[in-house]
């Protein structure tokens, strides 16, 4: 395009469209990277264990692990493990989140409760689940419930801490609004405190989800007869590393899935963010 003076002129709209298209290509190549990187990692692993850079006895190549995965999948055992673990994770997660939220809200709203409970939370939090297993067995036996409790125990702490932080971080002006418009304690709780704390609370819940998965092996170490953690632990103890890696990859897969799921849920639950 040339203007009256004969200079080359560019249509600004076209220029920006070109720019935008370039941007889009870049964007897509980034997304591609996200898919490529795990594939690349697996490929590297495959090559390393085939060429002997990785000890094949300890690191069976992904192809072998996938074969094992299909074997386990076809004989149906895998689904038992997966469904049992998912049930325990879900139940443990809920059993940790619900009291975590309730106690967290109470702590956030009432300073004496907060001052009373927080040192206990601080003291109990660093105690590793692994060390609590015997105590859990004594109290809750060896059934499914003890696994659920184990998971719940580790989910509880991040949820409680973030819920308290969430309540304390509610902007003062919103408390003023509630007071000025005469909110009753009940209304205050449900219309201000709970939704106000929700975003930070959900961060804690997201963390709780990660921890629930991290705990499943410890939870299913004892008294279990199935579950992904059981699969990992017994395979490992029987030196069936391919089976162990199937379990690890399953956990990693579910971790990924749950994260995405919770992020999606978060958008639904806090649409105002």
């Amino acid at each position: 395009m040339r203007d009256e003076k004969g200079n080359v002129r560019f249509d600004p709209y076209e220029t920006e469209q070109q720019e935008w298209k370039k941007q889009q290509v870049k964007e897509r190549s980034k997304q591609l990277l996200t898919i490529i990187s795990p594939v690349l990692l697996l490929l590297l692993w495959e090559i390393c264990s085939r060429t002997g850079i990785l000890d094949i006895r300890f690191f069976p190549p992904p192809s072998a692990i996938i074969t094992t995965f299909f074997e386990l999948a076809t004989n149906g055992l895998l689904w038992t493990h997966v469904s049992v673990s998912l049930y325990r994770i879900a139940a443990g997660f809920l059993l940790g989140v619900i009291p975590g939220v309730v106690i967290g809200l109470l702590m956030g709203l009432y300073a004496p409760i907060r001052h009373f409970i927080s040192p206990i939370v601080m003291a109990l939090m660093p105690i590793p689940t692994l060390a609590l297993l015997p105590i859990i067995i004594i109290f809750f036996g060896i059934g499914d419930f003890s696994k659920v409790v184990t998971i719940a125990g580790s989910v509880f702490f991040p949820v409680v801490i973030n819920t308290v932080a969430g309540v304390l971080n509610i902007e003062k002006v919103h408390l003023d609004v509630a007071k000025n418009y005469g909110a009753s304690p009940k209304d205050f709780f449900f219309k201000i405190a709970f939704p106000g704390a929700l975003p930070v609370m959900l961060e804690g819940i997201q963390m709780g989800q990660a921890i629930a998965l991290l705990t499943i092996v410890a939870a299913e170490m004892m008294g279990a007869t199935s579950g992904i953690g059981y699969l990992i632990w017994t395979s490992y103890k029987a030196f069936m590393l391919k089976e162990m890696f199937v379990g690890l990859i399953l956990i990693s897969f579910f971790g990924f899935l749950f994260s995405l799921f919770l992020r999606g849920l978060q958008k639904k639950i806090v649409p105002w963010r």
């Binding site: 003023d176 418009y181 005469g182």
Partner: protein, 259 residues
């Protein structure tokens, strides 16, 4: 306009006490506001305007002195406050925000719906009623805050620099809207602002305060008849004089409190 006293403030003092330093925010403030009057409170920053309003709003206790707000009706709340932009509650939709006061009073659903829609229409937010505040501009958020306070139908309205964060053009549009709603409802309003133009445009009476401790030092009746326009305010030479008078007072107070 009747001549009944609506707000009567008597010798109000507020001290913020801390271990090492105590601040007397307001000192011996006495003021009467008539039913239906629009009063602006103007004063240098930190002179205790917000503190006074918060005491009236029940958000702070006075250290000494008292105030009364005359109640016409048992059903009405005594006062409602128009907060700044941030006072809009982000997790409630526009509609829910406007209905907030009514919901807190657990009024009949149908009444709440009608009242809310009515005020949503008045501030031009009917089409945005289901949106969350984050999707709205600053001016629209401020409209929510105003609608919320008016919808609550209180005896008096308290406003703390509701338009401070808006740009000049938006500010004026909202000022006009506020005046139009106010003239329909004839509520008694106590309004804080730093903007002399705003005070001149909106109020029947301007109360000038001194730098801290905040005391009332002067009262100015605004002489222009309503409805007013900004052009009138700017063109009127009497107003220009008033402006400069208030301006000089504030400059002096600011200098004094800095020096």
């Amino acid at each position: 306009m009747s001549n009944d006293v609506k707000i009567s403030i008597e010798d109000l003092t507020k001290v913020f006490y801390k271990k090492n330093n105590s601040v007397t925010a307001i000192k011996n403030v006495s003021l009467e506001v008539e039913e239906g009057e629009f009063v602006c409170l103007v004063g240098p920053s930190g002179c205790g305007k917000t503190t006074l309003l918060r005491i009236l709003a029940g958000l702070e206790h006075p250290s000494s002195g008292q105030f009364t707000i005359a109640a016409d009706s048992d059903f009405r709340p005594l006062q409602s406050m128009v907060f700044q932009e941030k006072g809009v509650i982000p997790w409630l939709t526009v509609e829910e925000n406007v209905a907030f006061g009514l919901n807190m009073r657990h009024l009949p659903k149908e009444f709440i719906r009608k009242q809310t829609n009515n005020y949503l229409k008045k501030v031009g937010l009917s089409n945005f009623s289901k949106l969350y505040p984050k999707e709205l501009s600053g001016g629209m958020k401020q409209r929510i805050s105003i609608a919320r306070a008016f919808a609550n139908d209180p005896e008096i309205l308290l406003m703390d620099e509701p338009f401070a964060a808006l740009d000049e053009q938006n500010k004026f549009i909202l000022q006009e809207e506020l005046l139009s709603i106010w003239s329909e409802t004839k509520k008694t309003v106590l309004f804080i602002t730093h903007s002399i133009d705003e005070a001149l445009l909106l109020s029947d009476r301007i109360i000038l305060m001194s730098a801290h401790p905040g005391e009332i030092v002067k009262e100015i009746k605004v002489p222009i008849p309503r409805p007013r326009t900004m052009e009138q305010v700017r063109a009127n030479t009497e107003m220009a004089e008033q402006f400069i008078a208030i301006w000089n007072h504030l400059q002096k107070e600011v200098q004094r409190s800095r020096g």
